[in-house]
Amino acid sequence: MLSYTAKRLGQTVFVLIGISLITFVLLQVVPGDPVALMLEKRADPETIAKIRHELGLDLPYHIQYYNFLKGAVRLDFGTSYFTKEVVSVALIRSFKVTVKLACMAFVFAAAIGIPCGIFSAVKRGKRIDSVVMVLSIIGVSAPAFWFAIILQIIFGLKLDILPISGFDGVSCYILPSVALGARYAGSMARITRTSMLEVMGQDYIRTAKAKGASRWSVIMKHALKNAMIPIVTLIGTDFGYMLTGSMLIEKVFSIPGIGKLAVDAMSNRDLPLLEGTVMYIAFVFVIVNLIVDLSYAFLDPRIRYGKGAA
C-alpha cells in the first residue's frame, strides 16, 4: 500500500507539471494582455513595455516558465500582477472560505442524499421511492446557478429569513451550500439507492436476517457497510469538486472562494495567480482521489488483506 501511495504521488507530480505547463501555454496563446488591462485608460507602447519589463513578461517564454517552476517547487508562486498579494496567501485566504462552503454543502448533500437513498432503497417500488427518486433527479438536473438565484429570491428576499450574500457567519452559507449541494444530494441519493439495492439482494443479507438481526441492523450495519464502497467513491470525488470551489455559486452569492479567485485570475490573465489556483485545484482533486482509493482498503477487508490471503 505504501508503494502504491508513493507511485500515485509520483504520478501526481507529473500531472501537476503537465497542468502548470498547459496553464502557462494557454495564457500565452489566449488573447489578452494583463498589462494592457492594467493600463485601461492611457496605454501607450512605452508605458506597456516598461510594465512588461517590471513583471518579467519580456523574458523568453522558456525562462519565464523555468522561473515559475523554480518558485513552484518551494510553493512560491510569486505575487499577483494586480493585487500584488502573494499567491499562496491569496490561496489560503480563499481556501478558508471555500472549505467552509464545501463542508456545509457536503454535509447538506450527504445528510440529505444518503438517508434518502437508503430510505428509497428500503421502500423500493413504493410511492415514496418514486417521489424521492424524482426529487433527486430534479436536484441533479436543475442548473445550480439558476437554483441559487431562485433560492435567493425566495428565502433571501420574499421570506427574508436568510442572508443572500456574504460569507461571515454560518447563516450566510446556508443558501449557497443548499444551492451547491442540491445536485450532489441528488446524485448521492441515486448512487446510495442503487448500491443499497444491489447489496440488499446479496446472500449475506439473508444470512443476517436469518440470524434474527433487526431490520435496522440489517440495513444500517450489514447492508450499508458493504454499500459504502461505491458511495464513498462518489462522495469523495464530489467533495473534491466542492473543495475546488464553485465559480457559479460563488459568483451568485458573492463569496470570495477559490472559484472566484480562479475566474478572476483567468479574466485578468494574472499568470502567477492562475498557475497557483489551477495547481491548487488539481492538487486537491488528485489527493482527494487518492484518499478515496486508499479508503477502499479501509472499507473493504478483501482489499486490505488481499495480499495476505493470496
Binding site: D33, P34, K41, R42, A43, S94
Partner: protein, 546 residues
Amino acid sequence: MKKRVSAVALLCAAAMMLSACGSKPQAPAETTAAGAAGTEAAGTQTGGESTPGAADRTGKIVRVAAVDPQVALDPQQYTYSIVMKITDNISEALLTTKGDGSLEPTLLAKMPEISEDQLTYSFELLPDVKFHDGTTLTSADVKYSYERLVKLTKMATLLENVEGYQELADGTADELSGVVIQDDTHFTITLTKPYAPFLSVLSTAYTAIYPHEACEAAGENWGMTTLYGTGPFKMDSYQTGVGVTLTRFDDYHGGAVKLDGVDYKFIEDVNTQVLEYQKGNVDYVDVDPSIYPVYSENPELKDQMHGFQPTGNYSLGVNVKTYPDAKVREAIALSIDRKAICDSILHGTATVPTSYIPAGIIGHDETLPEFEYNPERAKQLLAEAGFPDGIDLRVTVNSKYQGNVNIATAFQQQAKAAGINVQVETVDSAAWSDMKKSGGIDCNISNWYVDYSDPESMLYPMTKTDTNSSFWHNAEFDQLLEDGIATTDSAERQEIYKKAEHIMTREDWATTPIYNETKFYLLNPSITGFEIDSTFRMFWKDADIQ
C-alpha cells in the same frame, strides 16, 4: 401506478417552484414592500422588527454596494471607477470640479495664480491640513505625489506638459523639475507649453496628494493595508472579497463630517447587490438603465432611485484600417437606430446626441441635428462605395459592460435594414484591451467619461493613442487639439473644438456617438446631503443619516 406517482411528484415540484417565485402578478409589489420595510427599518427605526441586515448598522454608517476592485486602492496605479469611488473619500486632490464644470480649491488657500505666458502656476496650500497619519500637508507632499504619478507610469501622461516630465519618465532625472517648492505651503508648477485643462487635471483623483513619508514607507502596501490622505474619512480596513470600511477623520480640514463612516461592501453579482438593497442591507447601489422599469414601475422604490448624467457618451468606433472608405463608415453610423435604443432598450433614460462632445463641456454644439438613423441613405452610401450588396461587420464588445453588449445586439437588427450584416463578438476585458491595441477590432461599442471637465479629456483618446482601436488619424484634427489646449479663451476654444468635432463625427465618421446616458442609483431615503453629479464622483463628505 409508479409512473403516475412520479408524474404527480414532478408536477408538484414544478408547481412548488413556480408558486414560490410566483404570485407573479403581485410580485413587484411584494418585493417593494419587503424592500421598503427593510430600508425603513435600517434607516429610521432601531430595534423592533428590524431586518437582519438593519441590525448590522451601528452609528451613522452608510453601506455602499460595490464590486471588489481586487487591486490596491491607488488611482495612480488603477483607474477603475470603483477605486475612485472609495479613494475620493480618503484622499483629495488640490482642487475639486463641481457639477457645473467650475473648479474650487480644496487643499489650496485660493485658486492658483497663472502667469501671463500661461506657463507658471503658483499655489498656496491651506495651513495645517492634517493627513490621517497626523502629519501636516506640505508642498513636498504635493511634489512627491506628482512624481509618484509619473514614476508609476500608468496615468503619467496627465502631467506630460509639466517641465521635467520627460526626464523623470525616462529615468534620466529623479525629480519633476517643473514643481518648485518655495516653502511648506507655497510652490509653483511650470509647464513646457500652455495647457488649458491643467487645473482641471489637478482636480482628478489621480493627482491626489499623499503624505510622502508614509507612502514611501508603505511601498507596495499603499492602498492595500495603508492609505492616508487629507480626506473626510480614513481607511480602517480593506479586505479582498469583503469590503472597505472608512471611519470619520476628526481632524478633517473641511469642517465636521456628519457620518461616522462609510462601509463599502463587496458584492460581486450586480443582481445580488440590488437584492441586498431591497433587503435593507445596503444604502446605495448602482442600477443599470436596462433594468430601469423594474424600479420606475415600483411605487416604493421609484422615489429612491436617482439619476445623473455623467459627462461622456457611448460611441461606435470603426477601424479605419478595415474600412478605409469614409462613406462606408458613414453608412455604418447611419444604420444604428439611436432613438430606438434610447427609448426602448434604455427605456427613455438616454438621449440621442447631437455631438460627440457632451453637453456641459467646451465644444459641445447643441445647434446640430441629432445623429440620424437612415438605412436608405446608408444603403446608397454603401453602393457608392462599391458595396451594393451590403457588408459584413464584426462588432466587438467587452462582455464586462452589459450596456455595450445590449447596444451591439440591438444594432445587429437595426443594421440589417441598411444591408449591413452585423456579427456580435463579446470578449473579456483582457482580450478586449489586447485586441484594441493590436487592431483586432473592426468595429466596437465603448463608453468614455471625462476625467476632468475639458474637451481634451474627451478627445485625447482619438489622437494621442491608438487604444481607441479605430486607428484614425487626421492631421487637421490633431492640430486643432494642439491649438485647443494651448488656447485659454473659452470662446476661442469652443470654435476650435466644434471644428474638431465636425471633422471627427461629420466628415471622417471614424467614431460616432450613440447616446448620452443617465446613470441611476438607489439611495436609502434616510440619507441626505448626497448626490452624484455629472462629474461621476462619489463624495460622502456632506451626507448625513436622518
